[in-house]
Symmetry: C3
Subunit: 116 residues, 3 copies
């Protein structure tokens, strides 16, 4: 079956598509900004990627949310809940890790979604 | 293709089902208790969710296990191995994170399973 | 639909296969060695598992890379990028966790791949 990659570099692709399943990972565009700004940035980028992959924010199956400080939990959730369409929340894990690849990043999300 | 969600809130669903695949995340019912009690609680809840999703503990494909203290590794494994049917272990990652959403939680599991 | 497991123990399987999807997790063969040696070891083992599962390194959909020290990021990436076929990078998350199951392990990878 066909495997499609969006913008593959030598290290990673923005998303992969196989058999109706989309895998994507997103980080904020900037290392600056508080958790609100970073989550808004991340979800905006993620939405663009999901749309290009034939999916959308109403088609999320699973999200893994990595925070670097659980004190950001409420701020992240406020943006997350406002962004999700009603009734469309995925299965979700949220953990605090030691750090992310760039020191300024406060959040990273990995998602599995269904194509429309 | 149809995407089904179990008990979606504004933040997350207990599970999602798409194309024969189930995604679910579970935590213990209580923040109190040692790793044995918390793992028993978690797997009991997970089993209920898997059954409602048309799957079961013998149909796990992948499990990601987040601990907050690797000293809990043996205790978690003892419950895990007793719970899994013979020959039905999934692919599995187990890592120690900095913390989980609630300070008393010692374990969180994210799983992908196949419907029956 | 058929669910196949590769080398299931009481705790985990090397890989699972369901509906064209492969889930696998790999760690280095040894706890000794720097990040270069450990990543080479891990990817060599992963490739064997993927091939047995009817997949391969050119069919990765998603990779989650757990490091114990983000100072290993460049070393891991160098091996990773040399190992991946051109144009075949998956969606990828990379986080620093507090520790892995064995104290000497510097890297663990969980992947989802497509069968050929």
């Amino acid at each position: 079956m066909t495997l499609t990659r969006l913008n593959p570099t030598a290290r990673y692709a923005d998303a992969t598509v196989f058999n109706g399943l989309v895998h994507a990972v997103e980080v904020p565009a900037e290392e600056s900004g508080d958790i609100t700004a970073q989550t808004i940035s991340l979800l905006g980028l993620l939405e663009q990627t999901l749309e290009k992959a034939g999916s959308g924010r109403e088609r999320l199956l699973m999200a893994t949310i990595y925070l670097v400080d659980m004190a950001d939990y409420d701020g992240m959730n406020a943006v997350w809940e406002a962004w999700l369409p009603a009734g469309a929340a995925p299965s979700r894990a949220c953990v605090q890790v030691a750090r992310l690849a760039k020191p300024g990043w406060r959040v990273e999300m990995a998602v599995t979604a269904a194509q429309r």
